[in-house]
Amino acid sequence: MIKEEKKFDIEEMDLPEGMTTDYLSDLFSKYTVNMPDECEIERVINSLSEYIPQKTKWYEKLYKNFKYFIERWNISLYSISHAYWIFTLCLYIFGFYIVYSNGVNPYITIMLISPLPFVLGILEVIKGREEGVLELEMSCRISNREMVFSKLTLAGIYNIILNTLLSIMLININENVDILKVTMVCLTPFTFVSAVSLYICSKTRGYYSCMACIFIWIAISFSISMSPKYINRFFSIDFFQYLLILISGVLLLIFNTKKFLKTNVLEKEVN
């Protein structure tokens, strides 16, 4: 058996007394390894073939990503309770009804309702996590992270659709409603309240903290709506200020979504 000749540079470190390069070279060369034959290397090469990156065109990539999200949303769709969909839809119908029949301020109505579906969506994620349904749902078809993320995005998209529909309906029934203003009034609280709720829920990770966020938001918006001084100030902000607030709200939402995913997915995986 021919021993391997070991060469190494030990200039940059101290060695224990009596240990020289030759001694170490001789010592470590004794621990030889029988290398596997070609068949074993071929086996590894064959197993790697399926993972070789494929050059894809941008539209193929886009289609792949779209398909990926649709598949995940499809699974998440069934894991969100029916009560969630029905309750949030009723909330918007009720909002439309009070504006239409009672003449309540449309801006205040949409401002109050706009973040609620998403916050209730967070509640759904936490509920699934606390009941241990998440592990059951994700059984091999979808990872824990994908499940939380797809539920959140689903709630976000559903929220935006409802906001858009309500805005269109409000514009149709009231000629004085400004499309730009109504968009800003619903998107600003949506991003900010969602971001703050995600932050609080990732810190406390409790069902009740999410409920508390909803009640606090309702209390704040009611108190704002009762005070004409605040209402005037809120609605007299110009477009660019709204835009600035909106952009910071979106950034805050992205940041807190990441934080929420980290606490609700990584910790769960460790446990």
Binding site: M1, K6, K7, F8, D9, E12, M13, D14, L15, P16, M19, L24, L27, F28, K30, Y31, T32, V33, N34, M35, P36, E40, I41, R43, V44, I45, S47, L48, S49, Y51, I52, P53, Q54, K55
Partner: protein, 189 residues
């Protein structure tokens, strides 16, 4: 062909470039994992896992940084760590620690036994080291890596790596000298 060129080819979907890269680094990865684990069957599986992880993450390799050897060894080091931390190892793998089945073709019988005995001593001494000292010693003395490279691979700072190597070498010597004294005593008896 240079590693960087091979990686570029792989990124554009070349299977033959992947074959060349695997053949070039297979022995390095396999020998590291074997010396770390002391188990041939496990080394086959972990080597395959290392290469799968590498090919899946090849887009994240920064070609400008160079040193593919450090990159693949880092994956091998982490694959070994993950395996020994896994529930599979704690529940099942531990019970299948194999006997050494090294095939050796010696010049004569006495050479063969002497060689085998020496090899076993060094192997045992290395395997008895704590994980962090074992990986630092293997990377230094079998792959001639710089302290800074080992620090990067093992996520430690340079002075920690130096002290791990120093303490590891002390333990290796103690283990080997202790074994030799015992052998002498046995022979005397």
């Amino acid at each position: 062909m240079e590693d960087e060129a091979l990686i570029r080819e792989i990124l554009s979907g070349s299977k033959s470039a992947m074959e060349l890269l695997v053949k070039k680094y297979y022995n390095i990865v396999f020998s590291y994992i074997y010396r770390y684990s002391g188990n041939y069957h496990l080394s086959y599986d972990l080597t395959q896992e290392t290469f799968i992880k590498m090919i899946k993450a090849i887009r994240t390799f920064k070609i400008s940084d160079g040193k593919f050897k450090s990159y693949i060894l880092k994956i091998a080091v982490n694959t070994c760590k993950d395996y020994y931390k896994s529930n599979y190892y704690k529940n099942v793998g531990k019970n299948f620690e194999e006997f050494d089945d090294e095939k050796i073709s010696g010049e004569n019988v006495s050479d063969f036994f002497e060689y085998k005995e020496d090899r076993q001593k060094v192997k045992k001494a290395i395997l008895n080291l704590p994980d962090f000292q074992r990986e630092a010693i293997l990377l230094k003395f079998y792959y001639d890596m710089k302290i800074s490279e080992i620090a990067d691979i093992t996520n430690a700072n340079e002075s920690t790596v130096k002290s791990r190597i120093y303490q590891g070498l002390e333990k290796v010597r103690k283990e080997i000298e202790g074994g030799e004294k015992l052998d002498k005593r046995r022979k005397e008896i």
